[in-house]
Amino acid sequence: MHILQHLNRYLVKKLKQLTIQIHSLGSKMKKGFLNLFQDFRFGDIYVKLSLLFMGIGFFRRHQIIKGILFSILQIGFILFLIFTGIPNLSKYNTLGTIQFESVYNPITRRNEVNDYDHSFKILLYGLISIIVIFTYVYIHLKNIQTQRKLQLLEEKGVHINTFKEDLIELKDNRFHVTLLTFPVSGIIFFTIIPLLFMILVAFTNYDQLHMPPTKLFTWVGFRNFEILLTTGSNTVTFGYAFRKVLTWTLTWAFFATFLNYIGGIVLALLINSKYTKVPKLWRTIFVITIAVPQFVSLLLVRHFFADQGIMNTLLSADIPFLNDYSWIDFIRQMGLIKANREFVPFLTDPVWSKVMLILINCWIGFPYVMLITTGVLMNIPKDLYESAEIDGANKFQLFAKITMPYMLFVTAPYLITNFVHNLNNFNVIYLLTSTRVTSNQLLANANASDTDLLVTWLFKLTQDYYNYKMASVIGIMMFLLSAIFTLLAFNYTIKSNKEDRFQ
């Protein structure tokens, strides 16, 4: 209860901060436009004309190259609007209406194809057009301010930079601009545009029955979200499957992260202990699991634990000194497998497979945590331990009061990123259980399985069923989930005022 109250108070505080931020952003924008208006009003004719012709002011102030460059930019933008922007944006409300038609002409031996609409391209180019238009408008307005500044400089008789001097500026005073241009444009093209595109797809009916280029797709509003979040839709059990998969995703991420973490620390402590002989040997042995590609080791493990795999063959042997009583008989009598089973369904039974997945993930994950924590452990000031021992603390107290808090503080960012990584841990789940068949009919009707994480479910939906619209909706959910956990956890753990606690 206490934690919930705490969380509640925290959220309220954050919300208040957010509203204040939005307010200040609003007033900032207002101020910006006001400034712009002032600049325009008091500017000379060149400043005013630069609303129509971007480069004109530069020509007046003898910045010929800049003038040419900005004119080219403006012409380029107009051409872009004519050839890409307007054709695509004019169809943006429907995403195209003319369907692909192709007629084979036996005389020319060619297919005669009509001038069809390509919904996918309309959606993508339309999105790019919107981004280009906003960027251009911003540059265009900003340019008016620049012209006004140039006018003032000229009036005061201050030296105006030549193009060469501008370039030199980029190397010195404005070096951050030079450095950041490339990565920022990379992020826009490879992260932001695909992300926005995916979000848009979630509001369309882009699926197997509506695949460009031969078919069209169109907007459907929030219908896909409705399908995912409500149960009892007449046809499929998507809402049910979503809740099931989400629960398992969170459970999995929790266990996969924290078991690994604790196990890794214990392993590191064991290896670092002064009683351990040849610690380097042990460390190397564990690091070997990292050296083998996960892809290889996981597929091997899958065969190892298959229903007719090596592990089951070993278990079907008799227990030493007992006739006709195998390990499997023993497991059956323990009630861990059903009476009719001849094998242990390690990766095929819902409960068994979930436990096995977490355990196998530990085997893969321990060494990483061990490596990271070994370094941190060596950095804990020895005097802390010594003074605690003088005060009569036992081994466990040392661990709980000094080692763990120190570790948690230093490795918290790692822990958080690891949790988010585990939410989307595709490899382990998919490589080990992609072939498993569920016995849950409601899950099966939504093409999901018991061990599916949101990400593997998404993969199946796109890869096997071409259900891009639902995959996009799930993608948005995954994004929200990751974002929420990251923000909460970072805000909670990494507060700068805590830093001095360990000094």
């Binding site: 297919n111 695949m211 046809t235 039974d349 093409n447 639902m470």
Partner: protein, 405 residues
């Protein structure tokens, strides 16, 4: 400056005149890409060479061959139809999805001849390649169905006529009979054998498997699944079971014929599926007839030559070549009737089963629900005492569901 200008004028006029000269009759340059199974690469290359040779007077060909399994061709093609090969091989269960996505070019060259060569419009191979009364692919093989393999040293010809006979003998022998029931492909045999319906209209399936007969059919399946002579094994399990001797009979397809033949030698035999006991009566198991087809990409820039090439890959000579090199059963009537082909036990077993087989025409929502239904039986989560009716209802609900959304 003036000199340069006049030089340019001269150059332009020379080129202009050259353009007016009557050209030599140049051969059309055709470049095509082909996707076929990685197991067929050498064979396909031979066929491509013979195709180039046959049409060398009409065009110059650049044909690129890529390895894409017939089982996953659909995934590769639908990922990006525009980037997919001009001609590709695929299994007939993918034709619905390819057709719905508009990825297949209708066969419009020599259509009548292609249909006739494969046994006419009513033949299974043609039906499997036909959508809305139009032919959309070229039948390549007719062996993608399943039938019964058995070891003659364990079973007599009489034993393999009924499922009960097989199970009893297997139990007595201490070995197993296998037929994968957590797989909609095989599960179909029981329901269709009992005369239950499963149809697909291009968007949704319809099925009546949850009626009173369906409950009886399920009971028969459960009885088989709980019989000591039975084991549920997937494709890989069948192979390893045959190899280690634990499996003495099983339902599987041509692709595993060599494995069975190698193990059982002279005792290797194959025949149609057995009958099973439904409510005290013997009912013949049905099956999906499977075909492999050659399709032409609807977005190809060379539809004529792509069709010609697909036809070439699937003509009589090349089907016989495919049988000789790879042991794959022909769909072409003449090729199938050759003595050589008829001598193969697996192919003739398929032919026997052909009388009870139906062309696989099901929508994507069929597979998951049936797989899970079978799995419930395998895991003994659905027993004779259990609520069979409810499980059938949910399964049918899943099968007939609208494609999600």
């Amino acid at each position: 400056m003036k000199k340069l200008f006049s030089l340019m004028l001269v150059l332009i006029s020379v080129f202009g005149l050259a353009a007016c000269q009557p050209k030599e009759e140049a051969l059309e340059e055709v470049s095509l890409t082909v996707w076929a199974s990685e197991l067929d690469q050498t064979l396909m290359q031979t066929m491509i060479e013979s195709f180039k040779e046959a049409y060398k007077d009409e065009a110059i060909f650049t044909i690129t061959l890529g390895a894409v399994s017939e089982a996953t061709a659909k995934d590769q093609v639908l990922n990006d139809i525009e980037a997919a090969a001009d001609v590709f091989a695929f299994a007939d269960d993918q034709i619905n999805e390819l057709y719905v996505a508009g990825a297949l070019q209708e066969v419009q060259e020599n259509t009548a001849e292609v249909i006739a060569a494969n046994g006419g419009a009513e033949a299974g191979a043609i039906k499997a390649a036909t959508k809305n009364g139009k032919l959309y692919a070229y039948p390549m093989t007719a062996d993608n169905g399943y039938f019964l393999f058995y070891d003659k040293s364990v079973y007599s010809e009489n034993d393999v006529k009924t499922l009960d006979g097989i199970l009893a003998k297997a139990q007595a022998d201490g070995s197993k009979f296998t037929m994968q029931i957590n797989n909609g492909w095989y599960l179909y045999s029981f329901f269709a054998g009992a005369g239950l319906q499963l149809t697909y209209n291009g968007t949704v399936n319809s099925a009546n498997w949850n009626n009173a007969t369906g409950v009886k059919v399920t009971e028969s399946i459960i009885r088989m699944a709980t019989h000591p002579g039975y084991i549920n094994l997937n494709d890989a399990g069948f192979v390893s079971g045959v190899k280690d001797g634990s499996v003495s009979a099983g339902v599987n397809g041509v692709w595993n014929a060599t494995e069975a033949q190698n193990k059982w030698g002279a005792n290797y035999a194959a025949t149609k599926l057995p009958t099973y006991t439904l409510d005290g009566q013997q009912v013949q198991m049905s099956s999906f007839a499977g075909y492999k087809l050659m399709g032409v990409n609807a977005l190809t820039l060379q539809p004529y030559w792509a069709m010609k090439l697909a036809e070439w890959f699937t003509n009589e000579d090349n089907q016989i070549l495919r049988f000789q090199e790879r042991g794959l059963g022909p769909s072409n009537v003449n090729a199938a009737n050759s003595t050589e082909v008829k001598a193969s036990p697996a192919i003739s077993a398929l032919a026997q089963q052909g009388a009870f087989a139906t062309v696989q025409n099901v929508g994507g929502n069929y597979w998951s629900p049936t797989e899970t239904f079978g799995n419930m039986i395998v895991n003994a989560e659905l027993t004779l005492q259990g609520n069979i009716q409810e499980a059938l209802n949910i399964m049918v609900q899943g099968i007939v569901a609208q494609p999600i959304g």
